[in-house]
Symmetry: C3
Subunit: 439 residues, 3 copies
């Protein structure tokens, strides 16, 4: 439970807010690189931390990210001409490069120096791992990018995609650091016999009330949920929160899973979920407990992107159609009646409302990580606001080189030391093995 004031503080991300200021210390995944497929192509509207921006790829292939409002008289640069290394406002012809410099001001006399006094609001961008990263922060020289293993994957082994969620970023993220929901929302109707003896899923559904261990780290926090896995052994699901909004989830095999999930606030009510990971082989069999085959166990269909501020990466199954819930399917075996893991997550977190009111919640032992992460976020944001403390990870990119996943350990083992090697990102190692378990 949070007070109303804390809840506002941890949720709001616009310019000048506590959490918005924290996030502006970091590089942010602003969009997929594939949204700007070619030089001099169409500009794209991007909503990020409550700011209305326009992205474009210039003639040299560089990405620019400008405030959409022209600094002259405010016409939207979305309608601009993307031409010869700059975006030209169609109202009076002012042209800006990716750095925000006004490189042409053709409605002023040639001798005018006014051009040098005008700058568009432009944010530095780099492309890495199929994602356009933007820095909206105060430093003249941005910090380094985080050493996320997923960003180093060869292109043909990477799987990057995005889904927009219509709710505040934090309640979306909290679903990812809450392994407890896995055995209900996603596998609530699966019996252990169906899961197959000895599989992770077998142990997960055999005991749906695990215990928890938690530790703070340089990058954020890590926890393990553990339960019996046969005589003398425990099944550990180990997952991580990394500042300011990344998760490493416990679903794959620890040591083999390469996956980072980002919960990027578009604005207070919309979140861009960006999944960056190693490409998984298609699942061979159905994991659901239902006799009815799932239409798509992992991916659910997206609507075509539109050009609107909130028109990107929207699921077809959404609040307006109750996530295409099939009540008969729910009655006759499936747990939710909602098809697809992503859609199930979408349904519950969006159903909490645009910004979840945490003054009314009742947190149990399974919510220990949720509680811890909120605390760390608020502490870091306040430390920044009150004494300018650089938040975790901003200047230590290497701390992001870590992995999460599931593992079976001897009952007596210390989970931290026993998994230290498995949690180390190995992308730069020669023995890199990217053949991954079905997540």
């Amino acid at each position: 439970m949070l007070s109303e004031r804390e809840n506002e503080a941890v949720s709001r991300v616009g310019p000048g807010t506590l959490m918005g200021s924290l996030m502006r210390q970091y590089w942010l995944p602003a969009m997929l690189a594939s949204e700007l497929p070619r030089p001099d192509g169409d500009p794209v509207r991007v909503m990020l931390l409550g700011e209305q921006l326009v992205a474009f790829r210039d003639t040299k292939g560089q990405v620019g990210l400008l405030a959409h409002s022209c600094p002259h008289r405010g016409a939207s640069l979305f309608f601009g001409r993307n031409e010869e290394d700059g975006l030209r406002c169609v109202y009076h012809g002012w042209k800006f490069d990716v750095n925000g410099r006004c490189v042409d001001m053709p409605n002023e006399p040639p001798a005018s120096t006014f051009r040098d006094k005008v700058r568009a609001c432009a944010y530095p961008c780099v492309e890495r791992g199929g994602v356009v990263w933007a820095y909206l922060g105060p430093r003249a020289t941005p910090p380094p990018l985080p050493d996320l293993e997923a960003l180093e994957l060869p292109e043909n082994q990477a799987d990057v995609f995005a889904i927009q969620r219509e709710c505040n970023w934090l309640q979306a993220l909290e679903g990812d650091i809450d392994t407890s929901h896995f055995g209900f929302l996603h596998f609530g109707a699966t019996r252990k016999e169906e899961a197959g003896p000895g599989t992770f899923l077998y142990y997960a559904v055999a005991d749906r009330a695990p215990r928890y261990a938690l530790v703070d780290t340089e990058y954020g926090s890590m926890y393990g949920a553990y339960r019996p896995a046969g005589p003398g052994r425990l099944y550990w699901r180990i997952a991580q929160f990394l500042f300011p909004f990344y998760t490493h989830i416990p679903s794959g095999t620890l040591g083999r899973q390469v996956l980072t999930r980002a919960w990027v606030p578009m604005d207070d009510h919309h979140t861009l979920f960006v999944s960056m990971g190693a490409a998984a082989p298609r699942p061979r069999r159905q994991a659901s407990g239902s006799s009815r085959p799932r239409r798509a166990a992992l991916r659910t269909p997206l609507r075509p992107n539109s050009t609107g501020w909130h028109g990107r990466f929207r699921l077809e199954a959404d609040a307006a159609n109750d996530y295409l819930i099939d009540r008969n399917w729910q009655r006759n075996g499936d747990f939710t009646g909602i098809d697809g893991i992503f859609t199930q997550d979408q349904a519950v977190t969006e159903s909490m409302g645009p910004v979840y009111d945490r003054t009314k919640e009742h947190l149990g032992s399974s919510d220990v990580m949720v509680i811890r992460v909120r605390r760390r976020l608020l502490d870091a944001a306040r430390a920044l606001a009150e004494r300018g403390a650089v938040p975790p990870g901003v200047d230590e990119p290497h701390v992001y080189a870590t992995r999460s996943g599931s593992v079976i350990l001897p009952e007596k083992a210390d989970w931290l030391s026993a998994t230290e090697e498995l949690r180390r990102a190995r992308v730069s190692h020669p023995e890199l093995d990217l053949a991954l378990e079905t997540r």
Copy 2:
């Protein structure tokens, strides 16, 4: 005319408001029983007094009405599994019975006592007369249901239906205690010759400016509108307001009409009109003055219910289509060009805006009952707020056993004593006669 402050006070119904607190003293018609057709069926979203609720019928057939937000982490119970005497949240599997008790918390260890500390917000419900009644108030033991005659009708003689109105409850209700509009909005183009000499309608359209008598009662207020009905006789239309939002309208024959209409606030901008009465035979002839036959004099088509908070019992004819007004019909004989009595009422009361601004009105002699009822509502709400006075009728269910309707009396008769017997509800009497006039 009301001051802005009074207007707000008498209109707003959310938790903690003056009028909202008054209404929470009473049982409320929350929904039709037919909306929950079978045990373990689909949950239904119910908006009531500004609260977002989920209704479900459990395995035993009992109706539950819970705050839609799970007390754990706020996922909507609308997506819950309705199973074995409880509604189970699909996020983490917490299950609640119709009383709000948490009867299963499977993601906590079996030994945990946390389950006993968590309760869902649940409101007591009973079914009567085809309606699900809910009590949202503070008493541990709710008061008795009102002795509304319509609730005692045998199922095959009852006619219960609902229509959503997109405006504040009070302006909707005020149309019902304003008999003056009858001769305009509904019969403005009807000539007395068409009505047929000697019928109620004949006298109503022969003199469209009746005089009024008014009296306060134990259940609220009653008035009679009277006008000549031939030598030495008066045609009386007698109608009632019953706390907190019921009306008994004057249209049928006094002594034979069994009909209660409820104006239940869903929220400040939406009202559920619930009509509970004895089934009327289909009307045999058209009452309209137009040569064009009305498509449906009494009932107008509803859109199919959707699952949204405001998706229940919406008329096809609505503000977005100007209530399907036919201007040529209006020009050539009909008064409004709008088809159907319910739709006509809907059009004028919704057109006043979401909450009618009563600082600008000009009330005439025909508005005496409107003025009186506002005063009684405000007085009762303030008496409750200031000194805890139990509002009228809460603990006197018998006062609701009354009837309204039209009657012809000798000019010299005292309307109150002359109609005392006719106004008495007779459902429990052996001589019950439910053959009703066309309303």
Copy 3:
């Protein structure tokens, strides 16, 4: 740049606002006369200066403009019966004439004097030049209409039309007093060779950064943008702002162009652009620099009017469809990829947001007229508010008898004296010549 407070002051137009009070001193173009095609026809919803009004044409052909809310109990007079010189509310039959007098109150006793005490809010209207003019101000006797030449045109020589713009009135108007955008938004891709040597367009695109002269006038402000037009000559584009929201644009030939454009605030976020001018012959050739023919150089298709408050004169190309921008066309020769001059203007001014935030702009030398007009508006509005000063033109209708347009002058000529005769409206002169250049 304006302060936030000044920006609010100059933008908001509702009752009681600074700018709203200024505008209420003048006659306003409320709607086209053609929207009320016949006596006793359908009423029309009109939003004007933030007020919800209903217009109707009575049996005698007079136009009435009433507050839509019935003064009795607030039902919308939009649903009223337009009959025998009055609009009758269908709720209780009260009937109002075009002056707002209650001419019938049939639900009150015949002897009642209540009728004389009730007035509908009614605004005086006159028809002139195909436009219904309304006076929403405080004077018992309205001021004279402005002597706008376009209002005196014979009907068969007049061209009057309207387009709704979804943004604040001032940013819409500012596009009209900013000749600098002409060479970009509308002709940014046109080469002078295409324009044809010696034409106005030739000089306009040969030098897209003209210099400016500006002068205050009795009606508002006037400016000229000038640039070379061959040896010893200058091409002058002369344009005017006339209180409170009119423009005379410089595109036609000075001395021959008869055209007034009004930017009438419907509410803070919607503007009715009303163009009143002499009918132009259809353009014979394409002015665009593109090889692809424009579908309609001047007029763009409108959606059919609906009955809603904002349902009148909407372009088919709007924000929701990005003004039907064709990015390939923009890439391959056209400047904007948006078809039609009106739509191009619409796109840039609407893209600034509902009310443009002028605290962030950077005004250059081409914005001198924009700056001046804002100052004059604020000064006049404050003078009215603070000491009751009658604003410019209210009581001097003759000052509106002026013309704008393009002209070539000797380099040494004084632009004001050299154009004095050409700028004089000549409609009443026998030598009136309405054959106009293609605008």
